[in-house]
Structures are given as structure tokens and as C-alpha cells.
């Protein structure tokens, strides 16, 4: 604004009229529609298409002078918004970015300028002044990336020496009386009504002290009897007080061409008409006094300008990246996230989503319906999911598991882990899923048949160790008991949260494993010193009933902190072994009621989320069924240790149990051996009978003592 006044102060003698250029304004719907047109109608057709924009003279001060294109821009015969003026344009949509770049912009501008000039010379523009206000839009739509390159041009014909301002631009209310202003408004509305429109882009004007008369451009000869000084009105989209908008430019060329010889001074009313809070005003319109220079006498088209500058102020195209609002992949991602955000706003304001979303989940060798779990994970915003499986998809899978399709079964079946990832990515591209087709070595399943099988087992263990340390939560969803042993040991050692789910025919257990306190270096060394002696002397301190009775009875099942909770193997007095041996086929594969896997799987995910919501995470005190009436520890409610469900009764209970100091998976002695000996220890476990682990942990002795006690009675 400061620059405006400075310009105005400088001598008016050689003050040239300057125009506010159009700024292109595109509504979101325009690009949607262009995409549709490109895909369905234009395809590879690069020829020019008619489109339509509009401009408005009622903007508040400070807004740029715009030419707006909305989704309806492609409907050239469609209605123009009320009180707006239409502008017709040519759309050049190129097929390649290269074509966009190499298009001869100067030629495009000159072609359009020539058409305007022809309309001026032939007088067609007098009858239809909308021919004066045209534009060019050059676009390239990269529909793979949803990047749109575009460049607008608003062709304007130029006087070689510019246009002189005779008198400083003044606001209408300084020139016109209130009565004249009211009369002008009335006359303008009357002209609109007469022409059946809500806006008139150019008009002629005559006024006295208390009357105003308006007429369309084509009435020039009958309207003006004295052409010493004429007044023309232009519908002016500019809001600057010292400058008119772009539409006046070509009108002045028209005036000079048609009546230039007769005209001395031209008075221009830059008609602005805004309504604020229901009250209308036109008194901020601007009056200009101009001296029109003569156009060169030959009929050649004058010089033309009009390509729009980009936001940097340089002569160049613009680019807009709409991948976020148009790319279906991004839309799917944002709507999943949005659902979560809404859940937070609506239901659980204290929900800490980032905690959940940032967690990576790995599900080693889960049972078949685990893939439905994936939906739960995604529903909670978990983005990193890793599947571990060694099975191929069989024909019975697709009907039970929506993640697999019939095609996946063909040709011997795809690997389940890999197919699951493919499918999951199809359903929700935002997921970062990985699949590992590998076996998990198990106790009682020897791996020492050959050097090859042994080294394969070693690689599998290393891979599993790597995966577990890379993830935050491990889900154990296998078919067999023994296959859970290795991940339990590794995760226990790495202090990772483990959620375990196991199915019977119509019962299930979903549990979190006790999360051991982080190892303190001094304690560990002290324990390693004492533990071998403990096992070698067969631990006379161990009582027949195990550690369960060694803690005070009052706190037996209530308020067990997370680090004292048991694991899947803690309640067993038998080490895991080959449970599939000597069984019939129907016993080998777990036969369950079909809904059970989904119920247990969903509960497992929900349990994980509840644990993560707890401020202490895996160390949270276990809730039990008795806590159902108490104040819940997290915004999502209880954080149980176990959920045991009975589908026959449709009943769930929430027990909690302590870690067993002779547990074959999480007792200090097992973790300690694994930490010190690594694969050597593991291979002993895999290759030996189940007595190896029982001997190590003191279970053998426990058995003997129990038997002795029974015989004694």
C-alpha cells in the first residue's frame, strides 16, 4: 500500500496507468474434475478445450484479484455464480511433462491475443464484450503422483507507450454525492435485470447531479451524443484503491480502436460492489481519468502480455502436489488414522495413540486366523507388522481366512507369511508388513540330523533373535505348545512384551508374559555365580509346591506386579516336547470352534493396547476378575494377566499367576544359560528329550519329591 501512495504523489504528468494482474484461483474440485476428464474423456487428446472461469468484484480489501475455476469449469454453458462475471479460456492439457515444458508459450499467447484483436477490429467485442476477457490454462497432470503442473495466461493487448493518467485515481464517494451513488446502484441493478443477468462486465455511463444512466457497450452511438468526455464502467475485481483490475486493459484497446479518434479524455468507473454483514456498498468504487494514446495505424495485432508469475515472483509455471487429498492410498491411510483420532476425541481423550502406533508387532508362526488379527492391528494404527510362518496356503484356508484368495492355493500354495503381506498391502497400502517364511526350532524336535539341518536351525534362531529385538511386541499364536518355547525364551531375555494366545476346542487363553526387570549388571553376575551350585546340588531349598506357596497368601492373586507375572510355561510341570508325535491327524492340527480364533486374536490385540496404555506398560500390576468393580488403571480399563475364555458358557475370567522359579522357559536359570551359551544351549534343548530342561530347572527333583510324598501317604 505504501508504494501505491508514493506512486500517486509523483507527478501526474507522465504517470502511467498500472493494472492489478489476475491471480489464478483453483478450487479443490477443479483438479478432481480435470483428473476425471483426462481419464475418461480426453485421454491422450492434447487439443485445446474450452473451459470457464469467473471473477468477482465484491471482495474484501486485501484479497488478491482472482480468476476462479471450480469443478464446473468444464461445463462452459453452465451457470456462472451470482454477481460474478464469466471468462472463457482455453485448456491445453499435455500428455507429458516434456510437452508441457516445450510448448511454445509465446505462440499460445499470440494466438489468443490475435483472436481478441480480431474480435475488437470486427466489432464483435462491442456486441459481446466477454470476448475481451479470456485466459489460457496450460496443464500437465501427473496422475501417478498426483502432481499438477499448470500455468495461466491472461492475455492483454498493450499500448506501446502505456496509458497516461490525467488525474489521480479517486474513490467514488469523493466524486459522487450520496444521491448519485444511490442512483448508480439502482441503474446498475436495472441494467442487470434488463439483460437477465446478475453482473455486467462492461457498460456505458452518463450522469448528472442526481441521475445516472447506464447502457450496454453496443449502444455507444445512440447513448453518447457528445464524445468530448465519455464515461465507461468496468466490473472491477481489484480491491486496490489506486489500480484497476485486468479486465479494463483490453476494453481500453477496444475503445481506442473503435472510437479513439473521437475521444479526448476517458473517464472510467471501476465498479466494485460488496456486501458486508448484509449491507451493500459501491462507494469504494474507483474513478479514473485517462488519456488514451493512439494505436499504431496499421491493423497488426498489438504486443500482448499475460503469463502469470509463480509464487516466487518469477515467470514460470506452478506445481501443486495433491497426493494427500487425491491419492487413494494416502486417503485410505488418513481415514484409518482419522478414525483413531476421532476415537481419541470422542471416547478416550487420554488415549496415547503414538504409543500404540509406533509399536512394531511381530507374530511368529501364528495359527491360521491370526491374519484376521492384522485387521485389528491396523484398526489400532499399528503400521509395522511382521509375520513369521513356514506353512503354505492350503485350499481350506481361504474360506476361513479372508486374507487369502483361491489363487493363493494354486501351484502348491504360496507361502502364508508372504501371501498375508501381499494381501494386507492390497487392503491397506499404508501398512509396512513383512513376511518371513521360516521354521522355528522347537524343544524335542531334533535339528542334528546333519550339518545342514543344524546350521539351518542356527540361522533360523539368529533370524528370530534379530526379528524379536527389532520389534516391540511379540505375539505367540502358534498351534503347538513347544513352538512357543524359543520365542518365549528370546523375548524374555530381551525384555520384550509377549502376548500369547492359545486355543482349545472351545476354550482359549490370552495372556501377557511377565516382563522381567531389566538386568542389572551386578545382580546378574551374582546370580550366575549362585545358579550352577543351585542346580548341581539339586536345590534342596525348593519345596514340593514350588514358589507359589512361598509368597504370602494374602497377595497370592492380587496386585502381582508385571515383573513377577508368569509366562505360558509357568503353570506346567512338564517341559515342552514333541506334542504331535503319536497323534492322529485330527489331533495334530488344533481343531477349534471357528469363531474362537477370531475372538482370542482380537482379545490379544486389545490386551496389547491396554498394556501399552498403562503408564508402566508390561510392568503394570495385573488386574483380575475381582478388579472389575474398581477404578480401572488405564483409560481403556483393566490390564489383566490372562484372559481365559469358555465359549461353551460364553464366559471369560481374568486370572493372574506368579512366575514359577522352575519354569522351563522364563526361570532365571534357563534365561541365564541361554544368555551365556546361546545356540549351544538351545541345540541341547532341541535335540534332547524333555528331561534335559526338567533336569536343569529342578522339575525332575520336584517330580521325584512329589512322587515320594504321594507314596509316603
Amino acid at each position: 500500500m505504501a508504494s501505491d501512495t508514493k506512486e500517486a504523489v509523483s507527478s501526474t504528468a507522465d504517470l502511467k496507468l498500472q493494472f492489478a494482474p489476475f491471480s489464478s484461483a483453483l478450487e479443490a474440485g477443479f483438479w478432481h474434475q480435470l483428473t476425471q476428464k483426462k481419464l475418461n474423456d480426453y485421454r491422450l487428446d492434447e487439443s485445446a478445450k474450452y473451459i470457464k472461469g469467473y471473477y468477482y468484484n465484491g471482495d474484501a480489501v486485501g484479497l488478491p484479484t482472482r480468476l476462479t475455476l471450480e469443478f464446473s469449469a468444464f461445463d462452459v454453458d453452465g451457470p456462472t455464480p451470482a454477481r460474478c462475471c464469466p471468462a472463457v479460456g482455453m485448456l491445453y492439457n499435455t500428455n507429458t511433462l516434456d510437452a508441457f515444458k516445450t510448448t511454445d508459450k509465446k505462440a499460445l499467447l499470440e494466438k489468443e491475443a490475435k483472436e481478441i484483436w480480431d474480435a475488437i477490429q470486427s466489432g464483435a467485442a462491442v456486441k459481446d464484450p466477454s470476448l475481451l476477457c479470456r485466459f489460457i490454462l496450460l496443464t500437465f497432470a501427473d496422475l501417478k503422483k498426483y502432481h499438477f503442473y499448470y500455468w495461466f495466461c491472461f492475455p492483454a493487448l498493450c499500448f506501446p507507450e502505456g496509458i497516461k493518467i490525467v488525474q489521480q485515481p479517486s474513490v467514488l464517494e469523493q466524486v459522487f454525492s450520496a444521491k448519485q451513488i444511490a442512483a448508480l446502484q439502482e441503474a446498475y441493478d436495472g441494467l442487470c435485470m434488463k439483460r437477465g443477468t446478475t453482473a455486467v462486465s462492461y457498460f456505458l455511463m452518463k450522469y448528472t447531479d442526481d441521475t445516472v444512466q447506464l447502457a450496454p457497450l453496443q449502444d455507444w452511438d445512440t447513448f453518447f451524443t457528445d464524445t468530448k468526455k465519455v464515461t465507461v464502467g468496468v466490473y472491477d475485481p481489484c480491491t486496490l484503491s489506486q489500480h484497476p483490475g485486468w479486465p479494463l486493459r483490453n476494453l481500453l484497446v477496444l475503445l481506442a480502436n473503435q472510437w479513439g479518434s473521437k475521444l479526448d479524455i476517458v473517464e472510467v468507473l471501476c465498479f466494485r460492489d460488496r456486501t458486508l454483514q448484509g449491507s451493500r456498498s459501491i462507494q469504494h468504487s474507483v474513478i479514473l481519468q485517462l488519456k488514451l494514446p493512439e494505436l499504431p495505424s496499421n491493423s497488426a495485432c498489438p504486443k500482448s502480455v499475460g503469463w502469470e508469475k509463480n509464487p516466487k515472483g518469477a515467470m514460470g509455471p506452478r506445481m501443486v502436489n495433491l497426493s494427500e487429498c487425491m491419492d487413494p492410498k494416502r486417503l485410505a491411510e488418513s481415514s484409518v488414522d482419522l478414525n483413531l483420532k476421532l476415537m481419541r476425541w470422542r471416547l478416550v481423550p487420554s488415549l496415547d495413540l503414538d504409543k500404540v502406533v509406533k509399536h512394531k508387532v511381530s507374530s511368529p508362526r501364528c495359527w491360521d486366523s491370526r491374519l484376521q488379527l492384522a485387521f485389528c492391528y491396523i484398526g489400532w494404527g499399528v503400521r509395522h507388522i511382521t509375520f513369521v510362518d513356514n506353512a503354505k496356503i492350503s485350499y481350506s484356508n481361504p474360506v476361513r481366512q479372508p486374507l487369502y484368495e483361491f489363487e493363493d492355493c494354486l501351484g502348491g500354495g504360496k507361502s502364508k507369511a508372504v501371501a498375508a503381506v501381499e494381501r494386507l498391502t492390497k487392503i491397506f497400502p499404508g501398512v509396512k508388513a513383512e513376511g518371513y517364511n521360516m521354521s522355528i526350532p522347537m524343544p524335542g524336535h531334533p535339528v542334528n540330523f546333519s550339518q545342514a539341518t543344524l546350521s539351518q536351525a542356527q540361522r533360523d534362531v539368529e533370524q528370530l533373535e534379530k526379528l524379536i529385538s527389532e520389534h516391540d511386541v511379540v505375539f505367540l499364536l502358534m498351534d503347538t505348545r513347544e513352538s512357543r518355547w524359543l520365542p518365549t525364551v528370546i523375548a524374555g531375555c530381551k525384555r520384550k512384551l509377549v502376548v500369547n494366545a492359545a486355543l482349545g476346542f472351545d476354550t482359549f487363553v490370552v495372556m501377557r508374559h511377565g516382563l522381567k526387570k531389566p538386568p542389572v549388571s551386578q545382580n546378574v553376575s551374582a546370580r550366575t555365580d549362585s545358579s550352577p551350585s543351585c542346580s548341581s546340588t539339586s536345590s534342596s531349598s525348593s519345596t514340593p509346591a514350588g514358589s507359589v506357596t512361598s509368597v504370602p497368601v494374602s497377595s497370592l492373586f492380587s496386585n502381582i506386579p508385571g515383573h513377577k507375572l508368569g509366562c505360558y510355561f509357568c503353570n506346567d510341570v512338564v517341559a515342552p516336547g514333541d506334542s504331535t508325535r503319536d497323534r492322529t491327524l485330527d489331533q495334530q492340527c488344533t481343531v477349534s470352534r471357528p469363531g474362537l480364533a477370531m475372538i482370542a486374536g482380537a482379545l490379544a490385540v486389545e490386551m496389547m493396547v491396554s498394556i501399552l496404555q498403562h503408564s508402566e506398560g508390561g510392568y503394570a500390576v495385573a488386574s483380575s476378575s475381582d478388579d472389575r468393580m474398581n477404578e480401572p488403571p488405564t483409560s481403556l480399563g483393566l490390564v489383566p494377566h490372562q484372559i481365559r475364555g469358555f465359549l461353551s458358557r460364553f464366559d471369560n475370567v481374568l486370572p493372574a499367576s506368579l512366575a514359577f522359579d522352575k519354569c522351563t522357559a522364563c526361570s532365571p536359570i534357563v534365561l541365564d544359560h541361554y544368555e551365556r551359551e546361546g545356540f549351544n544351549f538351545l541345540s541341547k534343548v532341541f535335540n534332547s528329550s524333555h528331561s534335559f530342561l526338567e533336569d536343569l530347572t529342578g522339575l525332575t527333583l520336584l517330580h521325584q519329591e512329589t512322587q515320594a510324598a504321594e507314596e509316603g501317604t
Binding site: D59, A60, G278, K303, M319
Partner: protein, 238 residues
């Protein structure tokens, strides 16, 4: 007719009335009918300059790399291209220097649709930059006035949700209608008690509109007093 419920017929009637008043007040509401159906919606566009935070906190990880290119202009990397662009630039001394503000100009588009599931009007809207890039939910939030923001976050009454426009199929934001009955009922009740008359739509719009920057001029109410046609609560037709 239970109090607070808006029948579709009444909705159309209210829209008609609002359009008439908007015409008088030049408030810019229009009726857009969907081709090949009787359905339609009220539409209004508003231009506003606002400071938006285009680096939302939420998706910082993902958007940080992309957001730079959102509004950037494209510069040609190759020398040849640059030479070509030079030809386009003809000196134009007829252009004035337009002062640039710090804030960005945003285009808001408001739609009012009837929801037969909730039996209420629903306000859909979207906002875009002048380049046609739709604002993300975070950006919309950052443009909501702080006074309203705390209220909205604490008050699920009119949470902003992203949904597909039921008639256009494009992504829009909407003010969720699930509690509309709740806040409309007392207004309608008091109007009924005082044997007064109220345009459901205007009352509703004046409550929900300002939350997302849509102002309803007071003159509407003034005009209502002088309007011949009323939507009376006591009308037994429906």
C-alpha cells in the same frame, strides 16, 4: 413431530426461505441440485486470509518430506528450458506491484445437506489454497479460532470428521450431527414455550457455522421478523 427433529420436507422449506433471505442480503448461498435426482444442497464459498500451519504435528514424519513441495513453484532444471521461458517474458510496465501479506488466502466451501439418518441438517465443508490443494484436517484445525478449538476438543458436540460427500463423492469435512438434536431441542422448546417462531436452519447454522468460520449475519434474524413466511413449530402438517 418430535421436538428437535427436522423432517426432510421442512428442511427443503427452510432452505428455500434461507435462499430468499440470502438473495436479499447477498449472502451468497445457492442451491446446487444433483443431476438426475431431486437431491441437492445449499452451497456457499467464502474467501478468507488465514495463517495455517502447513506442518501438522501429527504426521510430521510422513509429511515433512512432501510438504515442501506443496506450494513450491517449479523451477526448470535444464538450461534449455530456462532459455525458452525467457522468450515468454515481454516487458510489461502496465502491471502494478501487488502488496503481499504474510497470511495465505484460503477458499472455504460450505455445503448444507440433509441427513435422513439423523433427521438434521449437516454442515459439510472443505478448504483449499488458491492452488486447489485441500487442507488436511490438521491444517483446518489450526485455522479454527483458539477459543473454539478448546471447546471443540472438550466437547464432542460438533467434532470435525472427514467423510465422503454423499452426493459428490469427494472428501469433505463435516460437523458430526450426532448431537444436533441435543442442542437444538432447548432452543426449539423455549421458542415453543414463548409461542415464538424460529427457522430451524438459521438457528442451527448460527450455532455450528462460526465453529468453522462461517458467519451468519445478524440481518437474517431481522429479515425473519419481517418475513411473511414462517416455519412455525406448531404447524401440525408434518
Amino acid at each position: 413431530m418430535s421436538l428437535g427433529v427436522l423432517e426432510e420436507e421442512t428442511f427443503c422449506h427452510c432452505c428455500h426461505q434461507l435462499l430468499q433471505q440470502s438473495e436479499q442480503l447477498r449472502d451468497g448461498w445457492t442451491w446446487e441440485s444433483v443431476q438426475g435426482s431431486q437431491e441437492g444442497y445449499l452451497r456457499k464459498t467464502v474467501l478468507r486470509s488465514a495463517v495455517i500451519n502447513s506442518h501438522p504435528v501429527w504426521n510430521q514424519e510422513e509429511s515433512s518430506s512432501d510438504s515442501k513441495t506443496h506450494t513450491s513453484c517449479h523451477s526448470w532444471p535444464d538450461q534449455q528450458g530456462q532459455e525458452k521461458e525467457q522468450c515468454v517474458v515481454d516487458e510489461d510496465d502496465g502491471v502494478c506491484v501487488v502488496p503481499e501479506g504474510n497470511s495465505q488466502v484460503l477458499q472455504y466451501e460450505y455445503h448444507i445437506l440433509y441427513s435422513s439418518s439423523y433427521s438434521t441438517p449437516v454442515l459439510y465443508f472443505r478448504a483449499s489454497t488458491l492452488e486447489g490443494r485441500s487442507l488436511s484436517l490438521e491444517e483446518v484445525w489450526s485455522s479454527v479460532h483458539p477459543n473454539f478449538k478448546t471447546r471443540l476438543l472438550n466437547n464432542p458436540l460438533s467434532t470435525i470428521t472427514q467423510q465422503e460427500h454423499p452426493l459428490l463423492g469427494q472428501p469433505f469435512f463435516m460437523l458430526h450431527p450426532c448431537r444436533t438434536h441435543e442442542f437444538m431441542r432447548p432452543v426449539l422448546q423455549s421458542a415453543q414455550d414463548q409461542r415464538g417462531q424460529v427457522n430451524y436452519m438459521l438457528t442451527w447454522l448460527s450455532v455450528v457455522g462460526p465453529l468453522v468460520g462461517l458467519e451468519v449475519p445478524l440481518n437474517y434474524n431481522f429479515k425473519l421478523q419481517n418475513a411473511i413466511q414462517y416455519y412455525t413449530l406448531t404447524s401440525p402438517q408434518t
